[in-house]
């Protein structure tokens, strides 16, 4: 018993030391991703500025790269994009519990890329550990994952937060080809197109814990009387046609809420409107967002 206590202290000191002093190649299971792809760090800091918003966007990179808040603003909708890197339903659940009462949106647009139901969600939890300042809700994810990377990064992250090492951190607005737009959108203006992808040979395999978290999210949103729209953002034609039985996913999503699969609703050209097999470039985003707006307006008319 005494050894276990000793081990716990030694492990914490050891992990923190590796995180602080070892070069990156020697930090295999410590992945403290402060300020990475989805600009979650910047978004969370912006949340107090976006209370009582019209639309809240949720989802993975398809969300934060797919819904341009400026386009929605022009159309008269005040919106906030809380999408983050590989955000799976497990992390959406944590974010909703943490921030839904603060943001209080009228409508939530929830991006439901099928692949997100198949992943373990570790990448997104690591994103939350490094970029969210509140650890109260993260325990559930740590227990859920039982993953060394999550566990070690949590220890290291907690140390950094306690000591205040990240307190003055300001996330750069431009990172590589990406530019962060206030309101949560990440813009990529490029004409380059990387067509490579590995076709899947199997139908979508839903992870039970993801499906459960997704259902919990739906319940939570609807319990707050918030209008919910599920959307599948478009991917390249080549990739979409390689997905086995995509209509099954459509049928499943339709059970929960109004659902629109924009792969069937917008005319896009792979090489012109995407920068890789499943991410839109800015030209693609504009076409896609206009289609979403049209649908929104149509829906509002129908309600009236």
């Amino acid at each position: 018993m005494l050894f276990m206590l000793f081990l716990l202290v030694f492990y914490i000191i050891g992990t923190v030391s590796v995180g602080l002093f070892f070069p990156k190649p020697l930090q295999l299971n410590i992945n403290y991703a402060l300020g990475k792809h989805g600009h979650l760090n910047s978004k969370i800091k912006e949340i107090p500025l976006h209370q009582n918003t019209d639309i809240l966007f949720l989802g993975s990179s398809h969300c934060y790269r797919g819904f341009d808040v400026r386009i929605f603003e022009k159309a008269g909708f005040c919106s906030f994009n809380l999408g983050s890197s590989s955000q799976s339903h497990l992390q959406t659940n944590v974010l909703l519990k943490r921030y839904l009462n603060q943001i209080q949106p009228n409508t939530i647009i929830y991006e439901v890329y099928p692949n997100i139901f198949e992943i373990d969600g570790v990448e997104s939890t690591l994103d939350l550990i490094a970029n969210d300042n509140n650890y109260d809700y993260l325990w559930k994810l740590i227990v859920e994952h039982q993953h060394l990377k999550v566990f070690n990064s949590f220890i290291y992250g907690a140390f950094r937060k306690i000591v205040g090492l990240d307190k003055d951190y300001v996330e750069p607005t431009v990172r590589g080809k990406d530019k962060y737009i206030s309101g949560g959108f990440v813009e990529r203006k490029t004409s380059e197109f990387n067509a490579y992808f590995k076709p899947s040979s199997k139908p979508i395999e839903y992870k039970q814990n993801q499906l459960k978290a997704f259902e919990e999210n739906i319940k939570l949103i609807l319990s707050k009387k918030i209008e919910l729209i599920l959307i599948q953002a478009p991917v390249t034609r080549a990739y979409y046609s390689s997905i086995v039985q995509p209509q099954k996913h459509d049928a499943l999503m339709e059970n929960y809420s109004p659902y629109y699969n924009f792969n069937d609703r917008v005319e896009l050209v792979d090489s012109l409107h995407f920068y890789d097999y499943h991410h839109l470039n800015q030209t693609g985003v504009e076409i896609f967002n206009q289609a979403v707006l049209d649908q929104l307006l149509l829906q509002q008319k129908e309600i009236r």
Binding site: G14, T15, V18, L26, N29
Partner: protein, 483 residues
């Protein structure tokens, strides 16, 4: 069930508590709990193949009694042949059927005759090569009057299926392990702590060293057609560390787990990469298999007692069969042949028993001569590992042709420099600890035992931190499970 899995993390404490908590006063019940635990452990992988283990166990249990009961040598021999043919027949069918069919067809195709054959979808039962050899040692030893058969079937079932070593050894002799099931076992705290230490070291070797090096080795072998000789040789070196970490790691975990139940299994690895020649390497690598072949094949064939040619023949037979034992592929046979070629000069010059002690046994550092000898031996072994790792004989030839070309001196074209740095760093730490502990059963057995408690605890915690920080998070099976 894998030792490096979450399932085992729950399974082991439950078995431990039942064994020592519920049945501590009755070794027969303890044996029963081991049989049950072992069958659950094995059935976790595929419950259907439990029938094979039960069949093999019951058959050899019965044959053992029959051999003992009869005085007639001819009848004894018949019973032994039944045991040999049944066990090797099952092994042959599951492991070698498709190989023989393929080789047969290829042989005829070579002479211009085309044959139509059908392949069978045969799943190789995990551990079949290991427990088959273990049960065979039982009937052979009874036949040789070196062992009395047991009349306790539960003890015998426990001996055959003992879960720590069921799927990848060490291949225990009935003479050594079976008597341990026949006596009362009491909980021994220091033995259990020793077992946990050995398990910890085995886990480190598997999840940190082997799994990290696997990334580099897999990368090199997957690009055999495009990479230079230097990259491929570097890949082979990483494979050498991978297979050592993987297999000796498994053995350490098996021996350590057995100690928790107060069983002693034989040492399976004795720091083989510190060997000064190939003969010493084979005394230190997969000891339970090498000694099995020595006692049940090499010596019965005549060993080195005959003339030069019979010695050459016997060495070649043992190495070829040893290679073939590993898998139904010409690459394994080639690996055995290559080792036979490395070994023969030593045995013919009677230098195979030159190094029976541990290298630098009385000093901290090896001499220059010893360093050169170890490097040469390591490189010979690594050179042979290429055949072991290659997917087929064509890939092995391709890699050898590149390694033996001027591209061996080109800069390796590894893309993942981060992985390379990490592997080298870990191998250095690993090498230092192994070197310091080379005189013991396993490297960390006594490395800090003379120091105060806080130093000992810090050292074990340090190993756990290394596992926590560097373990590959994806569970990967042990290489020897496929044999």
């Amino acid at each position: 069930m894998l030792f490096n899995s979450i399932d085992f993390l729950f399974f082991l404490p439950i078995v431990f508590v039942v064994y020592w908590g519920v049945f501590r006063n009755n070794y027969q019940y303890q044996n029963g709990s081991i049989v049950l635990a072992s069958y659950i452990f094995y059935g976790w992988w595929d419950v259907r193949f439990l029938a094979l283990i039960v069949f093999s166990s019951v058959l050899d249990f019965g044959i053992g009694l029959k051999i003992d009961q009869t005085k007639n040598t001819k009848i004894k021999k018949r019973w032994l042949w039944l045991s040999l043919s049944a066990n090797l027949g099952i092994l042959g069918f599951f492991k070698y059927y498709n190989f023989f069919i393929d080789s047969f067809v290829q042989g005829f195709t070579f002479f211009g005759i085309s044959l139509e054959t059908t392949h069978m979808q045969i799943i190789l039962p995990v551990g079949i090569s290991f427990y088959t050899f273990q049960t065979l040692s039982y009937t052979i030893d009874i036949f040789r009057n070196q062992l009395k058969p047991t009349r306790n079937i539960v003890a015998f079932l426990a001996f055959v299926s003992f879960f720590p070593q069921l799927v990848a050894g060490p291949i225990e002799r009935a003479r050594h392990l079976l008597p341990q099931f026949h006596k009362k076992r009491t909980f021994n705290y220091s033995e259990s702590v020793d077992g946990l230490k050995q398990f910890l070291w085995g886990l480190f070797k598997k999840v940190v060293i082997a799994d990290s090096c696997a990334e580099m080795a897999d990368w090199a072998f997957a690009h055999a057609d495009t990479y230079s000789g230097s990259s491929l040789y570097l890949g082979a070196i990483f494979f050498a560390f991978q297979i050592y970490g993987d297999f000796s790691g498994y053995s350490d975990m098996a021996i350590g787990t057995a100690k928790l139940f107060n069983f002693r299994l034989q040492q399976n690895f004795a720091f083989p990469y510190f060997s000064r020649n190939i003969a010493e390497f084979w005394r230190r690598w997969h000891i339970s298999l090498s000694t099995w072949f020595r006692d049940y094949l090499y010596i019965p064939l005549g060993g080195s007692r005959g003339n030069k040619w019979s010695t050459i023949r016997n060495v070649c037979i043992v190495f070829v069969i040893s290679g073939f034992w590993h898998g139904a592929n010409w690459t394994f046979i080639g690996w055995g042949v290559l080792h036979a070629l490395f070994f023969l000069p030593l045995i013919l010059q009677k230098k195979n028993r030159t190094y029976l002690d541990t290298v630098a046994s009385n000093s901290v550092f090896p001499s220059f001569k010893e360093i050169v000898q170890m490097l040469i031996t390591f490189n010979l072994v690594t050179f042979a590992w290429i055949l072991f790792r290659a997917t087929d004989i064509h890939q092995a030839i391709l890699i050898y042709s590149k390694i033996l070309s001027p591209t061996l001196f080109e800069t390796p074209e590894y893309v993942y420099i981060d992985v390379l740095i990490r592997c080298v760093f870990l191998i250095i730490i690993f090498g230092i600890i192994e070197w310091i502990g080379r005189r013991e059963q396993y490297a960390i057995e006594k490395i800090v035992s003379a120091y105060p408690r806080y130093i000992r605890w810090s050292f074990y915690s340090f190993i756990i931190v290394l596992i926590g920080v560097f373990a590959k998070t994806k569970e990967s099976p042990f290489i020897y499970f496929q044999f």
